[in-house]
């Protein structure tokens, strides 16, 4: 016992050193709530009150039937007014339920709201120990003591108002980016829209049809593309990318690099230049399913309609320069850099189709396996503007295939290639394309080899059923390989129909791989420029998977669409709309309120090791020119992870300082005042 007392004395000594920081003597008011019978039925509130009143620095201890009621709150007000109470401890329900009520009350009385300490003796005590009343009472005492200990050293925490720049940046002009840009602009906020391709529209404009209604994606998206292109508040940068990002939540400064098109804006999109261009290269946009010239338009309905010159494949014969009726072509154009100031950033850079070369048994892209294509290639082949005239033809010989086999889960659900996730849309688009082929070529045999068919949600199971009714053959089994007979060149798909336990060798004229959605190329550098985190799959990580799927790891930067994870078009649009609303909110309001619950850095103790920098997820701590850590108060998320990382204890989160936590720990771990039963 004596040893314990000594220890308390020792800690008091340390407290003395710290208390020199304290401006005022703590005067604590403790209030125990009965919560009707909820607390008082189990915990002996009078005993607890008695115990609390004997604790050091407590000037008043009372109990009340309902602390959250008007008379209860009045107790607080009177104590502050009459007894000079400057810290309050209320032992009642959880912080989330009425903690704020009491904090607001003391704020009304002129105290800082962080001077209130809420102790939960209902959810954490009376409700879970109803049968052990004595123990519950004892526990309540300990918890109240902990609360009082904690209250003793509570500091003032100010709330700052940060004004925001009323403009937003949207990166990526696919369906997600367009939706987000449009929604933000409709709220009256200027938007900068940056697209790396020469035209806006993204993957959706590549598709032939969209499920489940088989409607034309070009028709669905064109009102949006036209609307965005003509919106007075939207500034469009095509052929552009992000160079650097500075600043923090509410006020970002972004450098954008715009690559030259080599065609001026007075282009009338007549197409004379492309017709006369002697260079022909496979079109990346069409996944190699068509040919484009060195000067070209991404697709016929492209917006902006201005042509663009591909400098790498151009042979500079100058034919186009001379033939252009409006002299729009100018090879001397240079890339330029623009700096913009924005309050919020929406990242909507979309996805890439997985490249199946990694899955060697399927021999995708190998010589002799030209008839193995991906779904996106099939979409381009079937699209109205394709080279084949929207006919499905075998790439090897241009004949109409009789037997078509689709292979699901290529690059999805595969530990070996590192993509453990299910892309979730492949089943739907394979069913869609299989159905379209079956409609157009009723004599063809279409087989889909799947592991599981995943078509949840309204209309999709019906869509699946209708495709079954069309006579598409579904085989449950993942093909092990695509074999090629070296003498005849015929392809076979080897698969087990697991439902009938038969090994099959399917003849295939055309094999379509339903490749996964993967994070787009170049997302790593973009992520590090924005200083936001990525998930282990490579997509950008959302703030919380359920409650905040559009905010990124950093305040003020939001995610829209498939960059957060694979999604279909309707999910993407919904996600982008939500991102737009979140991104616009602080800009419409004009300011952000932030409680400065932040760490302080004691530079006398700091050894510049940088460990706090490495653990700080929102990248709020960075190093200055002298390698010292400096805190960006606005970016800080008050998690306190930097605290244990610090080897010298130089960095301390306000109100969660080591010594403040110690006081609380002493009480609950049994080292504090001994309470008698």
């Amino acid at each position: 016992m004596a040893a314990k007392d000594e220890k308390i004395k020792e800690t008091e000594k340390i407290e003395d050193i710290f208390s020199s920081k304290q401006e005022e003597e703590p005067r604590i008011g403790v209030y125990i709530c009965h919560c009707g019978h909820n607390i008082a039925g189990t915990v002996d509130v009078e005993k607890v009150t008695e115990f609390a009143s004997a604790l050091p620095n407590v000037v008043e201890a009372k109990h009340n039937m309902f602390m959250c009621s008007k008379p209860g709150v009045q107790l607080l007000k009177e104590a502050i007014k009459e007894k000079g109470v400057n810290r309050t401890v209320v032992a009642s329900c959880s912080k989330n339920q009425h903690g704020k009520t009491f904090a607001r009350t003391i704020e009304e009385m002129g105290l800082n709201k962080h001077k209130h300490q809420q102790v939960n003796i209902r959810e954490f005590d009376s409700w879970v120990h109803q049968k052990e009343k004595d123990k519950a009472t004892k526990k309540a005492m300990k918890l109240v003591e902990a609360g009082v200990n904690r209250a003793r050293k509570l500091e003032n925490i100010e709330t700052k108002k940060i004004s925001t720049t009323k403009a937003a940046l949207v990166i990526g002009a696919g369906i997600a980016g367009l939706r987000a840009a449009n929604d933000i602009a409709e709220l009256g906020i200027p938007v900068y829209l940056v697209e790396k391709e020469s035209a806006i529209g993204g993957h959706m404009t590549r598709l032939n049809k969209t499920f489940p209604t088989n409607e034309c994606p070009q028709c669905s998206i064109s009102p949006l593309t036209n609307g965005v292109a003509n919106h007075p508040l939207i500034t469009l940068f095509t052929n552009a990318q992000i160079k650097s990002v500075g600043g923090s939540m509410g006020n970002y400064e972004v450098e954008i690099e715009i690559k030259p098109r080599y065609v001026k804006d007075n282009c009338t999109s007549c197409g004379e230049c492309a017709n006369s261009c002697p260079v022909e290269v496979p079109s990346e946009w069409d996944m190699g399913m068509s040919i484009r010239n060195a000067i070209y338009k991404l697709y016929p309905q492209a917006i902006p309609a201005t042509y663009v010159r591909d400098k790498n494949s151009c042979i500079e014969c100058n034919i186009c320069v001379n033939i252009c009726p409006v002299q729009a072509i100018d090879f001397s154009m240079k890339s330029e850099t623009k700096t913009i100031k924005v309050g919020s950033i929406v990242v909507a850079v979309g996805y890439d189709e997985y490249n199946p070369v990694e899955i060697e048994p399927y021999h995708y892209g190998k010589q002799g396996y030209e008839n193995v294509i991906t779904q996106l290639q099939l979409e381009r082949m079937m699209s109205p503007t394709s080279l084949t005239g929207s006919e499905v033809l075998r790439p090897s010989d241009g004949k109409i295939p009789k037997n078509i086999v689709m292979i699901q889960c290529v690059g999805s659900r595969n530990d070996q290639v590192g993509n453990k996730y299910c892309t979730g849309v492949c089943c739907k688009f394979a069913i869609k394309n299989a159905g379209i082929i079956k409609d157009n070529y009723p004599d063809s045999n279409v087989t889909i080899c799947y592991i599981d068919i995943r078509t949840p949600g309204l209309n999709f199971e019906e869509y699946y059923k209708s495709s079954q009714e069309k006579g598409i053959r579904f085989i449950r089994g993942r093909p092990s390989e695509i074999t090629r007979d070296p003498t005849t060149g015929e392809l076979n798909v080897i698969v087990e129909d697991t439902l009938s336990q038969t090994s099959l060798m399917l003849e295939a004229d055309l094999i379509v791989l339903s490749a996964a959605m993967v994070p787009p190329e170049g997302i790593g550098p973009l992520g590090s420029k924005l200083q936001i985190l990525r998930s282990k799959e490579g997509f950008l990580k959302e703030f919380h998977i359920k409650m905040n799927p559009t905010l990124s790891s950093k305040g003020g930067i939001y995610l829209a669409g498939t960059i957060q994870g694979p999604k279909d078009i309707s999910e993407t649009v919904a996600h982008a709309g939500s991102a737009a609303a979140s991104a616009a909110a602080p800009l419409v309001k004009g300011y952000i309120e932030k409680e400065m619950l932040i760490p302080t850095i004691d530079y006398d103790l700091c050894v510049n090791c940088g460990l706090c920098v490495s653990v700080c997820n929102p990248a709020a701590i960075s190093r200055d020119n002298y390698e010292r850590p400096i805190l960006n108060e606005i970016a800080c998320k008050s998690c306190g992870m930097c605290m244990p990382a610090c080897p010298t204890g130089a960095i301390q989160l306000l109100n969660f300082r080591d010594d403040q936590l110690l006081d609380e720990i002493i009480a609950v771990s049994g080292g504090g005042v001994v309470c008698n039963d």
Binding site: E123, C639, M641, L662
Partner: protein, 142 residues
């Protein structure tokens, strides 16, 4: 099982989100658990360092645990994983020093399911009894 008088105080650091959330849910559902379990609210389990854990043990706590969000659902991205690694290291250290590593633990829980928190508490007690049985429980010499 150990007798109740063998231990008095189990200190549980619970994070602001799923940790305290699950304890609140357990309370609302009136689930019973050991009164020795006492919760200290923190911002994130990543905030709890060896200092706090040793403080608790030094001041008489019989067992210490950190309860955070599920892996992949930490509201501050990887505080729970950081804490997990930290406690793993501490366990290793305890073992090397000759103490049982069973009385410091890291758990996760789900705010919507009070059972997860209560399950964690039960496990803490079970492990503590193991530590006592092994005879290597960390104790302050005073």
């Amino acid at each position: 099982m150990i007798k109740e008088k063998d231990y008095e105080n189990i200190v549980v650091f619970m994070c602001n989100e799923c940790g305290q959330g699950s304890a609140n849910t357990a309370g609302v559902a009136r689930m019973n658990y050991d009164p020795a379990v006492k919760i200290i609210p923190v911002q994130c389990t990543g905030q709890v360092g060896p200092i706090q854990i040793m403080d608790a043990l030094n001041n008489g706590a019989d067992a210490v645990a950190c309860i955070g969000c599920c892996l992949g659902a930490c509201h501050f991205f990887n505080g729970n994983i950081l804490s997990m690694h930290r406690i793993k290291l501490m366990k290793k250290l305890f073992k090397e020093l000759g103490y049982s590593d069973q009385n410091i633990n890291q758990y996760t829980s789900r705010a919507a399911e009070g059972e997860t928190a209560v399950g964690d508490f039960v496990d803490i007690v079970e492990r503590l009894s193991k530590a006592i049985k092994e005879g290597g429980k960390f104790e302050v010499e005073c």
